[in-house]
């Protein structure tokens, strides 16, 4: 049986671990709040952008002429933008998204399509290297330093790749925020653009008024489309970062809870060991006294 001293040492070390995990929990809670704020700040812009775009489409503009909508009938080359975190200790956050995109790739491979990855985040990069899966390109996740310009740069890069015909489809694999308490890995199609007209119309009924356009609808449209893409990428990044912090918070909370539980059990066995020692000593004294008689 473990001695009192051994148990005490273990209690101490678990307490230290708990201190670290609970601090990390608090840190990621704070970061999560910040991300949430940023998400809320950018939501209205996205909504209005969609609104204006749907207004433009409902004016009967020949939008399908825009090259961003060009669907290649026999799409062969697919690019997936994979957004993961730079750090671990966040449960299955990173593995979930990687698993999701690998199964997506396998599905595409069955259809005879060739998939490449544009990887964001240190964790995914090291996993890809470990699995010896080639990456088209890789970069670190800018995390909370992310600005709209960063997203814009990626957006330009992706749409150039699409427009030049290097890739026939571009997808984003990220962790979608379904609600503030549930996130799940998702893959969406970025290019060619599919505006869910029905969905937009439901949201903004009766938006088919005639507008004046300055300078002309086409020019505004060709400005808004890239903006729409960039916005999409930007929100995907934000949502991923939010989910990462959320996953980390949950993981750290579980760890803290588990260590509390462990400390409780250890304290009980510590007290038992102490009591056993006392009992033993008493019986030794009593035994010794009896022998003297």
């Amino acid at each position: 049986m473990a001695t009192q001293r051994d148990i005490k040492k273990r209690i101490q070390s678990v307490t230290n671990t708990r201190k670290i995990t609970s601090t990390m929990e608090m840190v990621s809670t704070a970061k999560m709040q910040k991300m949430k704020q940023r998400l809320e700040m950018s939501k209205p812009y996205e909504h209005k952008l969609n609104e204006i775009l749907s207004n433009l489409m409902s004016t009967g503009l020949a939008v399908s002429d825009d090259p961003h909508f060009n669907e290649v009938s026999d799409a062969r080359y697919i690019l997936i933008l994979e957004i993961t975190g730079n750090r671990g200790l966040c449960g299955s956050y990173n593995t979930n998204i990687i698993d999701r995109s690998f199964s997506f790739r396998d599905k595409l491979a069955e259809e005879g399509k060739d998939t490449q990855f544009y990887v964001v985040g240190k964790k995914a990069i090291s996993y890809f290297n470990f699995m010896k899966v080639p990456m088209y390109k890789s970069m670190l996740n800018p995390e909370n330093k992310l600005t709209f310009e960063d997203a814009a740069e990626i957006g330009n890069e992706l749409s150039n790749l699409f427009l030049s015909g290097d890739f026939h489809e571009v997808h984003i694999a990220y962790t979608k925020v379904a609600s503030s308490s549930s996130q799940k890995p998702t893959i969406i199609k970025l290019l060619p653009i599919l505006l869910e007209e029905e969905e937009i119309k439901d949201l903004y009924p009766g938006s088919h008024l005639e507008y004046y356009f300055e300078p002309n609808p086409l020019e505004i449209f060709s400005y808004l489309i890239p903006q729409y893409l960039k916005m999409k990428i930007y929100t995907c990044f934000l949502e991923s970062s939010f989910s990462e912090q959320f996953a980390r918070r949950v993981a750290m909370k579980n760890a803290s809870d588990a260590s509390s539980e462990m400390i409780r059990d250890l304290t009980i066995s510590y007290n038992r060991a102490r009591q056993a020692k006392i009992t033993k000593e008493i019986s030794e004294i009593v035994g010794g006294a009896a022998a003297l008689k």
Binding site: P44, Y45, K48, N55, L209, E210, E214, P215, L224
Partner: protein, 133 residues
């Protein structure tokens, strides 16, 4: 009195939300004013100033590209980048301008860099104008 519900949005933040009587924005080739009951319109924006006037006060902003939409007395300004007047510092901008002018002299005419500098200069002039208000 009827008013215009105005909001200025950028991808990163929500800059302004409130009711105003009169708005002037920098459209792609000149300023454009909006009063109550303006016809539905969508226009692209240039680099320049936005003035939102209420009965008593006027607030100033600077925008750098974007679009504006008005309909049913709702004015939405979707800017690529926008700043409030209080966020601008006149001296800082002037310093930056000086730096840019220096760079402009050093760079080759009509090179990509030169065009980039011109663009930045335009932005700074717009900012300076608002900062001086």
């Amino acid at each position: 009195m009827k008013k215009i519900a105005c909001s200025i949005l950028t991808p990163e933040r929500y800059l302004f939300d409130g009711e105003i009587a009169f708005a002037v924005v920098q459209a792609h080739n000149g300023e454009m004013g909006f009063l109550v009951d303006h016809a539905p319109l969508i226009s692209s924006l240039g680099y320049g100033e936005i003035r939102l006037s209420d009965a008593k006060t006027t607030s100033y902003f600077v925008v750098e590209g974007g679009v504006v939409q008005i309909r049913d007395n709702k004015l939405i300004i979707l800017a690529e980048k926008a700043l409030k007047k209080d966020e601008l510092n006149k001296d800082e901008i002037e310093d930056k301008l000086k730096e840019l002018r220096q760079k402009e002299r050093e760079s080759k005419l009509f090179s990509a860099e030169w065009l980039h500098i011109l663009d930045d200069k335009k932005r700074l002039y717009a900012r300076l104008r608002v900062a001086k208000r």
